[in-house]
């Protein structure tokens, strides 16, 4: 009896040790950027790693209040997280540390009382179908019934036999059909959705298209949870189903932000309304952040996420640490933070490998280098030293070749492979906060770029 008690005790300790640093998947609803920064700073302090996919996650932390469709997508993500697992909502203003402690304790409880779990990922399929029909109900290709299986950001493919058995379903998954492709081979194409929840991806953004090999064509970009008013009588040519143009039009529609604050697109009105720092959501204890700080944080954040996608985790981690320092210290007045920020960003700016590796895709590198310059200038400014301010101000309209509308974005990513799409998206200044977050700052250098889609048509 005593032996058993000891063994139990030992087992509990082993579980506690093994899950001492749970892997975390963060899903930020629109308007929770600052909260995400705070959370990531705390996660980094605790050395809890960020998961790359649901399969590697222990905790799913949902920030803010996701809209209904994002919620549905999160359900799918949640269904892919293996037990033991915990899903925890964190609202802006909540005590992050307490929330993490509680979720961790719950996780340990679950790990110590393992219950057999038989989740079939397929159970979420019908739900996604209906959810998809909400904004997209056209078949892209001829061969297979392409009823579009949502993957919740992580993607189950269905690249089945196309030209022999087109139109069939297997295990509820539609089969792929063939379509012409870039290399002149009519290979099987697969309807693929990127997003709305992926690591280092603007949560809520959905990019869909036909995938052949890993090349995406017929791309359509949209924001989840955004009303998709269809223009009546929109012809919708075969390559551009009505749903697409309907969504694109929505960029110009007014009242988007009212829809749960989830528009993800800031229109000019939003920019002006947001220069007030009090409007930045989830600022909490950091309300002393100046607009410049928020801008600097935003650049650092974009840079870190881009480096994640570009596969340079060491530099991304360092950039993130600089961001934490800025977030903690308010302005970058701490000499140490300043020095490390300079060193880190300079190294990224100078990296020949990065230049060589991501060069060749559009103007990705230019935009990223511009962020680096902005950060360097931002640091210089806040130190009161003489930076090359002329560059920082830059021409309004900002980064080289920065697209301004969804149509531009779609044109940019169309015909690119998955990795290039990820890199391009990561290099765009997409405002996930729907204007209610940090990326809208009054500086002229980026004000123009944050208005993606706002001026469409």
């Amino acid at each position: 009896m005593e032996l058993r008690g000891r063994l139990d005790h030992l087992a509990r300790r082993v579980v506690g040790w093994a899950f001492a640093r749970p892997t975390v998947l963060v899903a930020d609803s629109p308007g929770t950027t600052v909260l995400r920064w705070q959370l990531e700073a705390e996660l980094d302090r605790r050395r809890w790693p960020i998961a790359r996919s649901p399969a590697d996650a222990d905790l799913l932390l949902v920030l803010g209040e996701p809209g209904p469709n994002l919620q549905a997508a999160l359900d799918v993500v949640w269904s892919q997280v293996p037990a033991p697992r915990q899903r925890w909502d964190i609202q802006p203003g909540a005590d992050i540390s307490t929330a993490l402690d509680r979720s961790h304790a719950a996780l340990l409880d679950m790990a110590r009382q393992p219950e057999p779990r038989t989740d079939d990922p397929g159970e979420f399929l019908p739900q996604n179908r209906s959810h998809d029909e909400h904004h997209h109900d056209d078949d892209h290709d001829d061969g297979g019934n392409d009823g579009d299986h949502d993957d919740g950001g992580d993607g189950h493919h269905h690249d089945q036999q196309g030209h022999e058995h087109g139109g069939h379903d297997a295990a509820g998954l539609p089969m792929a059909g063939t379509a012409p492709d870039r290399d002149g081979l009519e290979l099987d194409s697969l309807h693929v959705r990127l997003g709305p929840v992926l690591p280092s991806w603007p949560t809520g953004l959905v990019i869909e298209g036909r995938m052949q090999g890993d090349v995406l064509t017929g791309v359509h970009a949209s924001w989840i949870d955004r009303p998709a008013p269809r223009r009546p009588g929109d012809p919708g040519d075969p390559d551009d189903p009505g749903g697409l143009s309907g969504l694109r039009d929505a960029g110009g529609a007014s009242g988007l932000r009212d829809a749960g604050g989830a528009s993800g697109l800031s229109d000019p009105a939003g920019v002006s309304g947001l220069s007030d720092p009090g409007g930045v959501s989830g600022l909490g204890a950091w309300s002393d952040l100046s607009a410049e700080d928020v801008t600097l944080l935003d650049w650092l954040d974009r840079l870190a996420r881009f480096l994640d996608v570009a596969g340079w985790p060491a530099a991304a981690t360092r950039t993130r640490r600089v961001r934490h320092d800025v977030l903690r210290g308010g302005t970058v007045n701490d000499a140490r933070a300043d020095g490390s920020a300079r060193r880190t960003v300079r190294r990224i700016r100078r990296s020949a490998t990065l230049r060589w590796s991501v060069g060749g895709i559009d103007a990705v590198l230019d935009r990223v280098h511009q962020w680096c310059d902005h950060v360097l200038d931002g640091v210089a400014n806040s130190r009161g030293t003489t930076g090359s301010e002329g560059d920082a101000a830059g021409p309004p309209g900002g980064a080289a070749g920065s697209p301004r509308t969804w149509t531009d974005v779609e044109a940019l990513v169309d015909g690119q492979d998955l990795a290039a799409i990820r890199l391009i998206v990561a290099s765009l200044e997409i405002d996930t906060d729907g204007g209610s977050g940090a990326s809208t700052q009054p500086t002229p250098s980026t004000a123009g770029q944050t208005q993606m889609g706002g001026a469409d048509e």
Partner: protein, 300 residues
Amino acid sequence: MGEAALVLLVGLGLGAVFAATDHAVLTADAHGIGVPIRRATRLLLTQRRTTLAPDRLLWRIGCVAVPLLAFGSLAVVPITGSSLLSTTADLVWFNTMEVLLWGAVWLAGWGPNAVHALTGGYRFLAQGLAYELPLMFAIITAGLGAGSLNAESVVAAQDGMWFVVTMPVAFAAFLLGAAGFAFWGPLSAPAGADIAGGVMSELSGVDRLSVEAGRAVFLGSAAAMAATLFLGGGHGPWLPGTAWLLIKTLLVIGAMILAGRRMPVVRPERFMDVAWIVLIPATLVQALAVALLVISGYYG
């Protein structure tokens, strides 16, 4: 029996060292020594997840094969002066284990029936076509210098001078190939963050442990093989041969991580160009130079 246990132990040890050092460099966290073991325990306690309509048989085969091949490759490394499997074609054996990994990794990507995993599998093969020939030429160059495909003979041939002196290009190509077949560091595109972890994206529990551990062991084994082929294996003064081999292996591991983590992932299409236009000719010239040295009697 004892030797098999030794290979198992050394493999796990080197893998753990590699994973711990890698973690420490990545996160700048010097206290991460126990991280690999903790992670392994965590994965053992985690549910083994499935996906929708997977090809379960092939998936499992792929996951299990990764560590098996890793230990298989270590079996021809003469750890104690002699190796577990001493054959007349050790170098080709090592190469074969690494090529069998092509199949294993592709199966691990294919099995779960998911976009990102499959993309990772394809990427691995595409990248394989890039690094494989330089790697083969690098391995065979060491065999050429020693006049034997047996690892022990290669070590014996380096009694006077390490092969790295006359084969620097082959040494570099070998380490690059090692990063490639273990899809790690600058060649980790098959498991890249841009495809949500690629071949690893759908793995959880013991499956993920199997692939991650197998990859770490493979990297450790590759470092040991690099030390064997190019750094004189167990040759060195004062200390016993095994100690020298391990020291050199650890140095190779450290050098790989320091160099590999200084740069971002190299996109496969970029690397492909360099591999075929620069690396293959370079390794061929290296082999030619070594062949000329052999004819001239340089290696004795």
